[in-house]
């Protein structure tokens, strides 16, 4: 029975390609997750889901969006699965069960959402996230597979976001799916003793996506807001699925607060504006409020024993900035203290670099330079543009102009980001 043919649901003006894609974006994660639970394989699930999208793009524009688009997509994908299994003459036991399921459903013409999906759907999406971010996959594959399966992005959108050819993005997904099959990665949640480590891997993938949008490491674009928004959205999805982990809410807080500054990070000619010089009136107050709410939730969970992690600490630092109405109101003493805790938890020369800035603001440039000198020799920072940039900032404030200019020039030379180069070069010209 063709449910979408009933008169009252036809809505021709809405049924453009973009309208179909909008429904797809809303349903993609649940669809792929539900199919993966049935097939046991994310790759097959993703392919069946894509088949359903193609069918929707063919049929909805002329027949209208069905009353239950999620159920339609699921049924269509399952049918494709059955066809596939028949063609292969290896009627998979699970797909056989699906086929019987579909026959029953077609008899009863059930228009309600498929309850066999709903019962499991939260866990299924979480399984999907863990599988897409599985440590067996390369980082590039994790990012691509997450955006594709959980975010519902097409290969060309992923390619655009990461400034790679579409074939490259598609290849990353193909490779990811193959690895999952070859290594027989099960579609399941991590065991409790692995959960923390695996969650950290998921957050790492989401943060990489966010940062790719927030501070493009190469090329002309300073920010790609769509990518930040997608990372934010996925972070919120995750926080809803694991509501009791402080570090996950800390992560959400961090990205909401960082995203709140996107509009202020770019000047009228597209040039980057650093934190201290930003027009704080352009900060996004809605995202700040959401970020502060998430931070509070994370701190409450931490107070109840959920372990504190590096994202929560960084969110605390971002919260200090968000609370400062003017740059000079910034509570640098608290920020320097939070960096002190962060370095204990997560010894990392880049954290030390940031701590040097904070200590320089809290206790004066000489104290900051002392922190910097202690870490400057670390091989990780070799060739890192922010090392000379931080030194240049501290030297500028210490009134050591000649040395400062030299360091600004060095920073401008090292950075791969054109916007940063512009800022560093301008600072070099400004020191007296």
């Amino acid at each position: 029975m063709a449910l979408w043919l009933s008169d009252d649901v036809i809505d021709a003006p809405r049924t453009t390609r973009a309208a179909v894609e909008a429904v797809w974006r809303i349903e993609a994660a649940r669809l792929v997750a539900g199919l993966a639970r049935i097939t046991g394989d994310v790759g097959t699930a993703e392919e069946l889901a894509q088949d359903a999208l193609v069918a929707a793009l063919e049929q909805w524009p002329t027949r209208g969006v069905p009353p239950n688009p999620a159920g339609w997509l699921m049924t269509t994908a399952k049918n494709r699965g059955v066809d596939l299994a028949r063609r292969r003459h290896t009627l998979h036991r699970k797909l056989g069960a699906v086929y019987r399921d579909i026959e029953v459903r077609q008899d009863t013409a059930d228009t309600d959402r498929d309850d066999t999906i709903d019962d499991h759907i939260g866990d299924d999406v979480l399984r999907l996230i863990f599988t897409a971010c599985h440590p067996a996959l390369s980082m590039e594959s994790r990012v691509a597979l997450t955006l594709r399966c959980v975010g519902g992005l097409a290969s060309d959108e992923i390619a655009r976001a990461f400034l790679v050819p579409e074939a490259t993005a598609a290849q990353r997904i193909v490779r990811a799916k193959k690895t999952l099959r070859d290594k027989e990665i099960a579609f399941e949640l991590p065991t409790p003793d692995q959960a923390r480590e695996r969650l950290a891997t998921v957050l790492e993938v989401l943060y990489l996506i966010f940062n790719e949008g927030y501070a493009a490491t190469s090329g002309p674009a300073w920010t790609r807001p769509e990518l930040c928004e997608e990372a934010l959205r996925l972070a919120r999805v995750l926080a809803n699925l694991v509501p009791d982990v402080a570090e996950v809410h800390g992560f959400v807080a961090l990205v909401e607060l960082q995203a709140s500054r996107i509009a202020a990070r770019t000047g009228p000619d597209g040039e980057p504006v650093l934190l201290a010089d930003q027009d704080r009136g352009r900060w996004d107050r809605l995202l700040i409020r959401r970020g502060m709410d998430a931070l509070q939730r994370a701190e409450r969970l931490a107070g109840n024993g959920s372990p504190v992690g590096p994202y929560l600490l960084q969110a605390g630092i971002a919260g200090c900035h968000a609370r400062a109405v003017r740059a000079r109101d910034t509570d640098w003493v608290t920020i320097a203290g939070l960096y002190g805790v962060l370095r204990e938890l997560w010894p990392n020369p880049v954290v030390e670099l940031n701590r040097a800035v904070a200590v320089g603001m809290a206790q004066g440039p000489d104290a900051g330079l002392a922190v910097l000198d202690a870490v400057a020799g670390d091989p990780v920072l070799r060739g890192y543009a922010h090392l000379p940039a931080v030194r240049a900032e501290l030297l500028t404030r210490a009134g050591r102009g000649v040395e400062a200019r030299e360091q600004w020039c060095k920073a401008a030379e090292l950075t791969r980001n054109e916007g940063e180069r512009w800022v560093f070069s301008r600072r070099a010209g400004q020191v007296s």
């Binding site: 809405r14 909008a22 974006r25 928004e229 959205r233 809803n240 699925l241 996107i262």
Partner: protein, 124 residues
């Protein structure tokens, strides 16, 4: 990108909204929230509790509610989505709940784009 949607009732049957509608609205809100797209939403009290500030003929006047128009603004939502169509889809799902659970109710939702960085050609 961000869209602001504003729900207006043009014909409200007598009596309070059905419980089934309220439950369905809560479920849809939860759905949009777990999808990470619902940034903010709230219901709006009747205009009797509000006021209107008007500038006309060179003077500013404050008029307390209720306003005589039959239309009442009911609620607003702010979505973060990838396209206008996606915002329209969420808003349509919201309207569909009224269609299914409150016979006789009529109204409209206006979906407006909130200006964002993408509207000023700053990136790329």
């Amino acid at each position: 990108m961000r869209y602001f949607s504003l729900l207006t009732a043009t014909n409200t049957p007598d009596g309070p909204p059905p419980g089934a509608l309220m439950a369905a609205i809560a479920a849809l809100g939860e759905d949009a929230n777990s999808a990470g797209v619902l940034l903010d939403t709230a219901g709006l009290a009747p205009s009797a509790k509000g006021a209107r500030i008007e500038l006309s003929g060179g003077t500013i006047g404050v008029i307390d509610g209720p306003f005589t128009e039959a239309k009442e603004l009911i609620s607003y939502a702010i979505y973060q989505v990838a396209s206008k169509e996606e915002a329209v889809e969420w808003a349509t799902r919201f309207m569909d709940l009224h269609l299914r659970h409150w016979p006789g109710w009529e109204g409209n939702t206006v979906v407006l784009k909130v200006f964002g960085p993408e509207d000023f050609g700053q990136q790329n």
